[in-house]
Amino acid sequence: MNYSQYILLIPLLPLAGFLVLGLFGKSYFNKSAGIIGTLFLLVAAILSLYTAYNYFFIDGKVNGVYQSIIPFKYTWLSFSENISIDMGFVLDPISVMMLVVVTFVSLMVHIFSLWYMKGEERFSTYYAFLGLFTFSMLGLVISTNIFQIYMFWELVGVSSYLLIGFYYDKPSAVAASKKAFIVTRFADLAFLIGILILGFQAETLDFGTLIQRLTDIQSSQFIGITTASFFGVSLLTWALTLVFIGGAGKSAMLPLHIWLPDAMEGPTPVSALIHAATMVVAGVYLVARLFPVFHINQASLHIVTFVGVASALFAAIIACTQTDIKRVLAYSTMSQIGYMMFSLGISGIGGENGLGYTASLFHLFTHAFFKSLLFLAAGAVIHLVHSNELKDMGGLKRYMPVTHIVFLVACLAISGIFPFAGFFSKEEILLASYESNKIVYAIALFTSGLTAFYMFRLYFSIFWNKQKDLHSHHGEGNMSMKIPLWILAVCTCTAGFISFGKYVSADGKELASHFHILFSIVPVTVSLLGILLAMLLYKKENGKPQAISNSLGGLYKTAYHKFYIDEVYLFITKKIIFNLVGRPAAWIDKNIIDGIMNGIAGVTASISSAIKGIQSGKVQSYALYFFAGIIAMAIVFVYLWK
């Protein structure tokens, strides 16, 4: 099968959508922009599925190991013989899986938005941005080269910025987009430094070569990067940690998560696409991409584990106390990504040891479906009640039967109840952690109970609880909203049955499915307990939740205020950085740098007018200068400065 015939179309179609809609959308087809964007993506999604089919079932496997195929590669800039920046397209199990996830979820969001965003003034702009985002995300996952991934990484950041700030007349949206951009920028700075260290030491930017060199303990590059150290820590650890910081920024890991809840200011379908299914898992993807290198450097892998597990727990606790439906989902996303991260962190390579790796990506895969389903359903709810707050909702199952059912399905999935997708992937993660680190397992188990609790808290508060009389009756939405919900719900029910280990594993070999009925008893029981607790507290309107939160007092308040992390950041930035660094820097800038610059400008101007006399227009004086120049050069270079 020759991929090169059509494969470039997959990223280029969304780009074409962006260009067409961005340039002409507003003036020529504002109304039909949605259909056009969706059609572009439909083709891209079909091509991705076709690619995945070809890769996984026809020619990806050689001798039982999935190969990494590069059907397209173009050297864009070559710095030297060794280091060049390429633009390429890599096909390996994880990139093909991501291709499918990104185009599929993006397609669902495109369709859903046809209804959700109808009547928006900047309808075509919205679809143009969606196209840009999809293009950048696809470019990111197919990167063959660490610099290429960085460029698309930034592009993804920009399109996320544009989409979060889509309602640019809302100050909170503008502030949120700025926050997201700045926080991830800082993380990206670390990422860039990490890339430079890796590229410089490995003498290549190409993923394949880089991994090969840095995992071969005999190679000169490996010896170089591990023996060189900075503050007593080897350069390899530094580089990988810095790269991970970049990933943690995009994936909203502790303590760089503060932008994600605020990013919910964007349109809800955007949250489903960017902040649930695709962009936020870029960090996981990055670690998975460089996994062999991370694996050889256990120190950096420990950091990944620790940050992942801390984020999972921390976010779950906060999610229990939030009252804004999208914020609960945002923290839940963060928590689930924490799962993926620590699952990578505890994984090994090869055979059974690689279970964590497979489980992590499996969870990424299933999470994409049920989390985007949750967001889209939440979008439908918000559209109906015109509020994000739980207190404005309740008893909605009467008004929106479809949404109710799909939301329930997604909640069961994320809680890890059989037979929904989340069950299978979460079981694998738990099993992997059970086998390698009992403490991580205990925390993960507890978090899993919390997850079930806060998700069903959300479910019962929205669809059961007190009965509310709704005055605005524009119903649940039309087919373009229901179809994606149904499709995603079906995926959520069935995706778990894919024997994922057959296709994606750390070493490319087949990994048998891990499914032990006995092992599953404990996690499922814990989840059921969480659901039961939520049911007791939230199914009917009562005073118990209030009473509990009162009795928890300070603890509840701390969690409600998200452990005051935002305040800590504010304190650090406003009080410490601005006062101790910013003010003096501003003073220096204003009084010294500006002074110098003004001085230079002044001097430049005065020299300029002083020497204009040389340019007199008299040709005899020109000859004189010419001759003087030669004499001066002769004196200087023949006698003085040889």
């Binding site: 200068y625 010419f626 050069m633 002769a634 270079f637 023949v638």
Partner: protein, 468 residues
């Protein structure tokens, strides 16, 4: 053997043929309309450009006097392209001119000189070719026959050139005296760095730097550029400089390599002086042509940095930059030529509000200036970047710092023009200019060149492979 002769000298022979064709056109009885004459000539120049890409061979002729190879052929093709662009751009000006064939005869004669100069393998051959490329240029400067300022330009051009040629010839004779040879390869083997040789080298270098108008040998530039017709000015500042730069790089790298450390210092000083003085003068110019003249002096300063790299990268980066510079500068001159010949305006103040009636031309000029200023993603950025990279390889960070500062200064004056065009208000902005097919074609070539040579690294890689 005879076939070899024709193939090796193909570029020169085609030009010679063109010159004779023009001569017969002129002395024939038929009265040609200028429009049709220009169309024919442009077509011939296009054929000339195409002919450069076919049938090539490497080798030497006339007892090692003349050599050619892939790189030289590429350089000649660049010049052919440049002359085609200039010819297309000067369509409006030449349409009203009485002496079209003469103009082209002179122009092609200088081009012929440059071709021989590029191919010269012997210092005497080089000198003759240099003269052949200079003397007709002085006549060309005077081609606005009724303008006094043009006569002044021509006069200054010939006096200055004569002066510089005299010193150059003096240098050559000293070199001959100390090395006993005129052949480049033999000269190279005889160099030992004695004071006399150094002095003769300085004289030689002054001859080169006079042509590329490096400070302090640049003073003729501004007056000549201002007085000459725009077509000639762009020819002087692009084609003529490009040819000399090619020769300079090749002579310094191949012949004077034994004196490498000496000329490194010289180029360092010249480059710093050229950048700074060129920029300082460019800052205060009011006439568009004069402004471009000084800015091109500053550009030469940057090119000298690339030459100090003394490596294959250095040589490749210079040739690449010249290619980029050809597109960018001719793009800018193309617009200036249109405004000058169709609206009769040449001052920067006249460009205020240029965008109101001439949107496309404003963008063309803006992109060209962006490229000259070295703003990504135009080709100029990559050009400067590679020059600095080549220079930085020698580890002279003082030079790089000064270059970076000068890039900022140059940014200021390039942006000044862009600001004038797009932002400044003007009660009587330049009316809508109807450019016509030929100039539009020329500008399109320049724009494509700026974008393509920048975004596609193939150009640089190709040059690099030729140099290696």
């Amino acid at each position: 053997m005879l076939a070899d002769f024709f193939i090796l000298m193909k570029a020169e022979l085609v030009i010679t043929l063109l010159i004779f064709t023009l001569l017969f056109l002129k002395i024939g009885n038929k009265e040609w309309r200028n429009e049709s004459l220009l169309n024919i000539i442009n077509l011939l120049l296009f054929i000339n450009l195409l002919s450069g890409f076919f049938i090539a061979k490497e080798g030497t002729l006339f007892g090692d006097m003349f050599r050619t190879n892939e790189l030289l052929r590429f350089e000649k093709n660049m010049l052919n392209l440049g002359i085609l662009i200039i010819s297309l751009q000067s369509y409006h000006w030449l349409k009203q001119h009485k002496h079209v064939p003469e103009f082209y005869m002179l122009l092609l004669s200088t081009l012929l000189g440059m071709f021989f100069m590029i191919s010269a393998n012997n210092i005497l051959m080089f000198y003759l070719a240099l003269e052949l490329s200079t003397i007709p240029l002085a006549a060309l400067c005077n081609f606005d026959l009724h303008k006094k300022i043009a006569s002044e330009a021509a006069f200054k051009m010939s006096i200055s050139s004569a002066f510089s040629s005299g010193l150059l010839l003096f240098g050559i004779s000293l070199l001959y005296g100390t090395t006993g040879s005129l052949n480049f390869a033999e000269i190279s083997s005889q160099l030992n760095g004695s004071p006399l040789q150094l002095f003769s080298f300085i004289l030689l270098l002054s001859g080169f730097t006079f042509k590329i108008s490096a400070v302090p040998f640049h003073l003729w530039t501004a007056d000549v550029y201002e007085g000459s017709p725009v077509a000639v000015t762009s020819y002087l500042s692009v084609i003529s400089k490009a040819a000399i730069l090619f020769v300079l790089v090749s002579v310094l790298y191949n012949v004077f390599q034994p004196l490498g450390s000496n000329w490194y210092n010289m180029l360092f000083v010249l480059s710093v002086l050229t950048m700074i003085i060129g920029n300082l003068f460019a800052l205060r110019q009011q006439n568009m042509k004069r402004f471009l003249a000084f800015s091109s002096i500053a550009q030469v300063g940057f090119i000298l940095i690339g030459i100090t790299g003394q490596s294959a990268e250095g040589s490749a980066s210079v040739i690449y930059f010249v290619l980029v510079y050809l597109f960018s500068n001719l793009g800018a001159f193309g617009v200036v030529a249109l405004v000058s010949s169709l609206a009769g305006k040449e001052n920067i103040d006249d460009y205020k509000g240029f965008y109101t009636h001439n949107k496309l031309l404003s963008w063309v000029l803006a992109i060209s200036l962006f490229s000259l200023a070295g703003i990504p993603p135009t080709a100029g950025f990559f050009g400067k970047f590679f020059l600095l990279l080549a220079g930085a390889a020698k580890g002279n960070y003082i030079l790089i710092t000064i270059a970076a500062l000068n890039m900022v200064i140059s940014l200021y004056y390039y942006l000044r023009i862009i600001k004038a065009m797009f932002m400044d208000e003007n009660k009587n902005p330049v009316e809508k200019i109807n450019a016509g097919l030929q100039p539009k074609l020329a500008l399109a070539i320049c724009m494509i060149g700026i974008i393509v040579t920048g975004l596609i690294s193939g150009a640089y890689n190709y040059i690099y492979s030729l140099v290696k």
